[in-house]
């Protein structure tokens, strides 16, 4: 696979899966923002990667030239068909609304949004809190833990399973499928295994709910009518798969990065313990500084953007994490300020594709940090133990050894 060759010129041949970039993309973004703020690569597929806040938000709002039909950062080898990335049983509509443009995007999004309204999300707080406490029970007395695998990774998948109405016993399997699709997408076999696992599982779950509807999201989608017609099974399948794929890796990565920050920045950790009222702005600041998610767009027609000759079919990697570190948009962007007042971060995107689950993600991050800091107010990175980071579509720590008294 040629796209894994070492990078010598980041402006013309970048690679978001480069090992050095996975660990520290920040320095590379800083250099590129000054020399070439929209680098290009032909690895995998002709792709552009805007790094400045104004470019990322402008492109996110220009849905005429930049379609969401193909949102995968790592395309499948044969990226010709809109659904090729999610090849499997009847994903003829992709994963609406994330991989859809209006009008499909508009009405499928309206079906999902009430399930993630802040009122609905408030009702998920007790189960999230209880889940965090039981996870902490498992290691708080041991003096060490893997804050990513033992804690962060375990939370969102179980909350999302409850919302979907599927068994939390499947949490580890769900996690594996989602990682196959998002993190190991360069490995076509693994990616395919994840997609197939997910889709066959949901095909079966949907069939069960047609017979015996419950009060969960899947049942409601199956029994909803839009303009007098029942929603097509293929659309429901895509939406179900989307909720799982988008609701697991992303928030888990955000929780993991926040814990990495607090483990490695003693002053911020102490301050957040001493001043719990800072939590709302602190959560936004940690989301800004360690935004997990990059989404792709596809150029719909040849267009020149900021001097870049973008061709129809090119990918644009919407680097929201880099936009959130742009010094033109944020004062001292590389410094975490838990009480940052001016913070128009776009960790959840910008425009009509704003993350539909952002209220849920924000709640999970806040509750996970509150519970951890209550039980383990003092903790640091385990000296000499390696931390690993996933990246590409979703950035966050995957192994995060920490120690505490």
């Amino acid at each position: 696979m040629t796209h894994t060759a070492p990078v010598t010129d980041w402006a013309t041949d970048f690679d978001v899966m480069d090992p050095g970039y996975l660990k520290d993309p920040f320095t590379i973004w800083d250099q590129l923002r000054q020399s070439c703020p929209i680098p290009h690569t032909d690895r995998r597929k002709s792709s552009w990667m805007p790094l400045r806040y104004d470019d990322v938000t402008a492109i996110a709002h220009d849905i005429e030239h930049f379609s969401s039909l193909k949102v995968a950062v790592i395309p499948a080898d044969e990226d010709e068909d809109p659904n090729e990335n999610w090849d499997g049983p009847s994903l003829e509509y992709g994963l609406p609304p994330i991989s859809a443009d209006p009008p499909l995007h508009t009405w499928t999004r309206r079906l999902l949004l009430p399930w993630f309204s802040h009122k609905r999300v408030d009702s998920y707080v007790p189960l999230t809190r209880e889940l965090c406490r039981s996870l902490l029970d498992g290691f708080a007395d041991k003096g060490h833990a893997d804050a990513a695998a033992d804690y962060a990774q375990q939370i969102p998948v179980r909350v999302i399973a409850r919302i979907l109405g599927v068994s939390t016993d499947m949490a580890d399997t769900f996690t594996e499928w989602v990682r196959d699709v998002l993190e190991f997408a360069d490995d076509q076999e693994r990616r395919q295994a994840g997609v197939e696992g997910l889709l066959y599982y949901f095909v079966d779950q949907l069939a069960q709910r047609k017979e015996h509807p419950g009060d969960d999201l899947l049942s409601e989608l199956l029994h909803t009518e839009v303009e007098g017609k029942q929603v097509d099974d293929g659309i429901v399948l895509g939406m179900a798969a989307l909720v799982l794929i988008a609701g697991v890796d992303t928030t888990w990565s955000g929780i993991g990065s926040a814990l990495w920050h607090l483990a490695s920045h003693e002053e911020d950790r102490k301050r957040l313990v001493a001043e719990p009222d800072l939590m709302p702005t602190a959560v936004e600041e940690l989301l800004r500084a360690y935004s997990p998610v990059t989404m792709a767009r596809e150029v719909t027609q040849d267009v020149e953007y900021a001097g870049c000759p973008m061709k129809a079919g090119d990918k644009v990697l919407m680097n929201f994490p880099a936009a959130n570190r742009d010094p033109e948009a944020f004062e001292n962007p590389d410094v975490v300020q838990l009480d940052r007042a001016h913070n128009r971060h776009v960790a959840f995107g910008s425009g009509i594709h704003r993350c539909a689950g952002s209220n849920l993600a924000r709640m999970e991050l806040q509750v996970a940090l509150e519970e951890w800091l209550t039980r383990i107010p003092e903790f640091t990175l385990a000296e000499g133990e390696e931390i690993t980071w996933a990246g590409g579509q979703v950035r966050g720590p995957r192994i995060l050894p920490v120690v505490f008294p």
Binding site: T57, L113, S117, T281, A341, N343, R344, F348, N359
Partner: protein, 64 residues
């Protein structure tokens, strides 16, 4: 101080609600609205915080 949310710009980030729930309400579809006619003086800082956190530049000051 009077403020309003431009419904055409609001995309439902709900940052205003999470930072200043005394001043904003968000419906099931993410649309935010201001729930006070006049921002009480003690909440003006919170109103400014919400304005400075809106990624869509959707909150406007109508009068200071």
């Amino acid at each position: 101080m009077k403020i309003r949310v431009d419904p055409d710009k609001c995309q439902g980030h709900a940052r205003c609600y999470s930072l200043a729930p005394e001043l904003f309400e968000v419906d099931d579809y993410g649309q935010s609205t201001v729930i006070v006619d006049e921002v009480p003086p003690e909440l003006e800082d919170k109103a400014r915080l919400a304005i400075a956190n809106c990624p869509e530049y959707a909150i406007e000051i109508i009068s200071e």
